[in-house]
Amino acid sequence: MTQGPSGQPSEVAVEPATQPAVVFVHRDEYHDRIAQLKAEGYEMCADLCAVDYLSHPGRRLPEGVVGERFEVVVNLLSLSMRRRVRVRVQVPEDDPRLPTIFDLYPGSEAMEREAYDMVGIVFTGHPDLTRILMPEDWEGHPLRKDYGVGRVPVQFKEAPGPR
């Protein structure tokens, strides 16, 4: 194996996979903290998803973190250090907004759109925040816990609807 163009080490030593560190961040410091982690060597945003804690309010959280209804979980990955870190941000129900991290990790584009589509988190500054999985004119966010499964009529064209 040769040295890759990006300068990553080409031969890899085996390290035991440990559970990654979890970082709780306040919403106001979210973007800065992610930028700081990127500067520390976490090159890749592996995953971003949102969780609705409506029906599980008493979850375990560390001292000083006030649990809100929504939580956005960002999994960052460092290829050079072979390490992961998980950033958890609380997002309140009455103002579900969060700054985008697209400017730091362009790969988060589709993931943020998915979180918006499924849970309804609005990422301010995202270049194209539209629905990605559901139809454009869909109402509601399916992965919210108060989204009525089975109460949505199956939509056929031309068929007389229940409305």
């Binding site: 163009p5 990006s6 031969e11 390290e15 996979a17 072979r82 990790y105 362009p106």
Partner: protein
Amino acid sequence: MSAERPVPRPWSPAETSEGRQELTPAPSALDRSLASVLRIPEGAVEAGLIDVEREDETMIINMGPQHPSTHGVLRLMLQLEGETVLRTKPVVGYLHTGMEKTAEELTYVQGPTNVTRMDYLSPLHNELVFSLATEALLGVEVPPRAVWIRMLMCELNRVSSHLMWLATNGMDLGSTSMMIYGFRERELVLGFFEKTTGLRMNHNYIRPGGVAADLPDGWEDDVDVICNTVLERTYEYDELLTGQPIFRERTEGVGSLSAEVAVALSATGPILRSTGVPWDLRRAMPYLAYDQVDFDVIVGTYGDNFDRYSIRLNEIRESIRIIRQVVEKMPPGDYRVQDAKVTPPPRRRIDESMEALIHHFKVFTEGFRVPEGEVYVAVESPRGELGCYLVSDGTSKPYRCHIRGPSFVNLQTLPAMLRGGLIADAVAVISSVDPVMGEVDR
């Protein structure tokens, strides 16, 4: 020949932004009704209803969702200047079936039947990542034989998935013989899967706590036949494709990606490795027993279609190398954890023991309870990092089950790969990303 291949140009992160991805200004209501007609009536043009001047030299082409080369229901909006692709917008969601929502309604015992249908070309990896996440929350240790059976099955699955990719990629480039050969060899692996799990696809074989059944009698011979046949045939593929001038012309330097772009766009798997980054979770963050087997991580240089082809072809050979070591080292013992709270008792025990009957009933009706917590587990699927973020609230059903599908994320590299290329190469580039729409849309 390879020295002439263009090296990807330098790049800055701002370039990956495709901007607001409405490719043209929204037309007025009148324009839209006219544009939906394939042949615009000449009278409309003369009457000045369509502003012909406004359309500059570019053209928007809509490809899919029913295009035969999109590997499912992927839709691409391409902005073309002549035959050159300027911008691309992948539109997904046509296969969205709400599997993450469904997972919240199923117990952890039923969970694998759901997630296995996501990436239908590597179902065992989906089951594996869900089972690993559940076991991490439960804190159970899986017996060694179950670990090695999982490795054997997952590597066979990687072989069958890459064979399927070779077949479809060959077909997209007009090599129908490769298509027939790829399917023929995949059939061998699927036959073994059917013998072991009872099903050719969507096995529900890897479950929390171990695997569903032990390997069948004589499995070593079956696996040996698969290894020998497939390995021999990969050299035939070499003759058919690798050295063939038409194939090389159509793949070398096409769809190039630099390492910086691939990392910034969170690409993983063969796409990331083709750019020269030696990142394979089996090596970098070993799970199962991958730290006890010997294999190479295949890395490319140019990040083009040909690199992605050779990486996948050589990964078949590496997987066969791993499979042979697994056959040698397969330990005896239990194939699932002997914890009555997690594993249902064997059928014969139910007739003898009241305790067994109760456990059987509890596991299959209510399911087992999983301690409160959240965990992210990732494995290397044939397409890249397959992750599972699992949140438990202490009941027998996941509170939230998020699957990080590698194809979903990898599709974001498509605009970067297609930019500046020819429309005729678009089909080959889509194919080289290897998207599985069942996993993209979930």
